[in-house]
């Protein structure tokens, strides 16, 4: 469309509406779903979330109780027990479904903590590049230098076994990656002319960060979040597998832990060992695909003509 120079005949109409904010969001979701990877990833994600949320509707506490379970002990898949049973007679399928609740919850919570902490530090360090920025980066570098796993173990030992300590341990060891990523993007965005324009229009630093920088860094944060959930779930499984989780709660990591501890490998009880691993695999794949698809959908919006 070209800019026209003629004046309109009458006065400008008084009723003018600012454009709706929902339209771009709707378009984005549609773009996302049109991609095979996006569609698959979203379906997997939603599938697991729905599964986790509806589990209490059909899983009875007795099915999970070591003492009350009624199935055959460590039996291979058979009628009534599609994935077999564990040494206590519980259905492995029900255990895996129930385990998704803890794994997802810890994964999401840890990611939330990581993103909030990492993004805040990254934004501040990238925007205030003087002493504040340098100080924050020194702190970040210090944390990067700390070895992740021993730190997590140490934290769990201090905070006691359980979901909370695992969540905190994951967040403490993961935020540095996000912080560096966000800082790099903040620096790149901050160098662009529209930041200068906003300053010339009268924006304060806070307004610059929230109105100009953050919306342009948000795509990166979104993509990073989905990928972080994947790695947080893996981390949770690892830490629980190592015995740092709550021994009474059921999660995929604890299933794997139990499987090893109780000799499932030597007994050849593959149905006890493999399903949790596959569940982790599928959900990590799902989140990763969603992350890639979100990145493509956001870039497509900016680059399309």
């Amino acid at each position: 469309m070209s800019a026209t120079q003629e004046r309109p005949a009458g006065p400008t109409p008084v009723e003018e509406k600012a454009p709706s904010r929902l339209v771009p969001v709707g378009r984005f979701v549609l773009t996302l779903l049109r991609m095979p990877s996006g569609l698959f990833g979203v379906v997997v994600m939603l599938g697991f979330v729905v599964m986790a949320l509806t589990a209490p509707l059909y899983i009875h506490p007795d099915d999970l109780s070591v003492t009350q379970a009624t199935g055959p002990l460590l039996a291979p898949p058979q009628h009534g027990y599609p994935l077999g049973t564990d040494p206590a007679g519980r259905s492995v399928l029900l255990l895996v479904i129930w385990g998704s609740r803890t794994s997802l919850a810890i994964g999401v919570m840890a990611t939330l903590l990581t993103m909030v902490l990492g993004a805040t530090i990254g934004l501040v360090a990238g925007h205030y590049q003087g002493r504040t920025g340098r100080l924050l980066m020194h702190v970040t570098d210090w944390f990067i230098a700390l070895p992740g796993l021993p730190l997590a173990i140490a934290l769990a030992a201090v905070l006691g076994q359980g979901a909370a300590s695992i969540t905190i341990a994951i967040a403490v060891t993961s935020w540095t990656g996000t912080a560096r990523l966000v800082r790099a993007q903040t620096l790149a965005v901050g160098a662009r002319p529209f930041i200068e324009r906003a300053r010339a229009l009268g924006a304060t630093d806070t307004q610059l960060i929230t109105r100009q920088v953050l919306p342009n860094v948000m795509p990166l944060i979104l993509v990073s979040s989905t990928l972080t959930v994947a790695s947080a779930i893996l981390a949770e499984a690892t830490l629980t597998f190592l015995g740092l989780g709550d021994p009474t709660s059921v999660s995929w990591g604890s299933l794997l832990n139990n499987a090893f501890m109780q000799g499932a490998v030597t007994a050849g009880a593959w149905w006890y060992l493999i399903p949790p691993g596959i569940a982790i695999l599928i959900i990590v794949l799902g989140f990763t695909l969603v992350g890639r698809a979100v990145e493509h959908a956001l870039n497509a919006r900016v680059q399309s003509r």
Partner: protein, 345 residues
């Protein structure tokens, strides 16, 4: 500015039949297929260049001028369709095989690219980069090639002791000079300069243009200079060809084209470069409303019709050919002589 290395005139230069232009481009059409839809970058471009002549190709972004220049040496992406004829020394380069193209490139025609900062390899010294084409095309040893490189640097005004410098150690103007030294390394007959002064300040631009003019004249090289700046072209080139939306819309001697353009677009373009002291442009910027057309669509009629102040119905359909009016040509129905020329065609 004198050169120390004066090229001897090889037989190939005089083998050309007298009267035949050095470069004769006929009906050149270039379509890019790199994206989802084809882009019609150049359509039916005809022009000729005599030996020792300088031609300026004027146009804005999307006009097709760089496309045409790059197509002369077949430097376009593989998926591009190029039709027509490009007769260089009487030989059609579009029909030549790759071996022949490689020997033509640089030894007979070379390019000074736009943006010397990115055209020079940052991790090799400028000496290496000048020597490279010499060693590729001529049977001389490393030492002789280096000596030639030193002479070339002197002839473009860069002290030859800087032969071991890296591009980032030089200023913008110096890098452009190095690009010109590279382009002259194998004594080409034709030099294509793509926006050689666009990123440079006025004074450095004047230095580079002066240098280019001197070198081209001393060595008898033909020059095609591409620019959006009509005043630069008018002061450096004998003839100007104006392009719009992939088509040639006007050609002619440069002074006449800029002083009294025939085509409305050429007029608008000339208006964007006012002459200081001309009262007509004082507090009266010349400009055009609207935007250049989208080259992904086939355009019917004159591509300039949507923005033309003199548009008529007959401009909007059919092909408006480039019509000769003496030693000038214009693709516009409003030029006197158009109707007769087309009627008899």
């Amino acid at each position: 500015m004198t050169t120390q290395h004066v090229p001897e005139v090889p037989e190939r230069r005089t083998a050309q039949r007298a009267g035949e232009p050095l470069l004769d481009v006929r009906d050149l059409t270039v379509t890019y297929h790199s994206g989802k839809v084809p882009v019609y970058a150049a359509r039916g471009v005809d022009f000729a260049l005599a030996a020792g002549e300088t031609l300026g190709m004027a146009g804005e972004s999307g006009s097709g001028k760089t496309t045409v220049a790059m197509s002369l040496l077949r430097l376009l992406p593989a998926e591009t369709t190029v039709t027509g004829e490009i007769r260089f020394h009487g030989e059609d380069l579009l029909a030549a095989n790759w071996g022949r193209m490689r020997s033509v490139r640089w030894a007979e025609a070379s390019v000074v690219f736009q943006g010397a900062m990115s055209a020079l390899n940052p991790v090799r010294t400028i000496g290496d980069q000048i020597v490279e084409p010499i060693l590729l095309h001529e049977k001389v040893g490393e030492k002789a090639a280096r000596a030639r490189a030193r002479d070339l640097l002197d002839s473009v005004g860069v002290p030859s002791r800087r032969i071991a410098s890296y591009p980032h150690e030089l200023s913008g103007g110096q890098r452009q000079r190095v690009m010109m030294a590279m382009a002259l390394a194998c004594d080409p007959h034709l030099l294509i300069a793509d926006e050689p002064t666009t990123a440079l300040d006025v004074i450095v631009q004047a230095q580079i243009l002066g240098l280019l003019t001197d070198l081209v004249r001393e060595r008898g090289i033909s020059l095609i200079m591409i620019s959006h700046d009509l005043s630069v072209l008018a002061s450096t080139c004998d003839r100007i060809a104006v392009m719009y939306a992939g088509r040639l819309v006007e050609t002619g001697p440069s002074r006449q084209v800029i002083a009294s353009p025939l085509h409305p677009y050429a007029r608008a373009l000339a208006g964007a470069f006012p002459t200081l002291g001309d009262p007509a442009s004082r507090l009266a910027p010349g400009g055009l409303p609207g935007d250049p057309p989208d080259l992904r669509e086939e355009i019917d009629g004159c591509p300039f019709a949507p923005r033309c102040p003199e548009v008529e119905d007959r401009c909007r359909s059919g092909v408006i050919p480039l019509v000769q009016h003496g030693d000038r040509a214009a693709a516009c129905v409003h030029v006197t002589g158009y109707d007769e020329a087309v009627g008899h065609g």
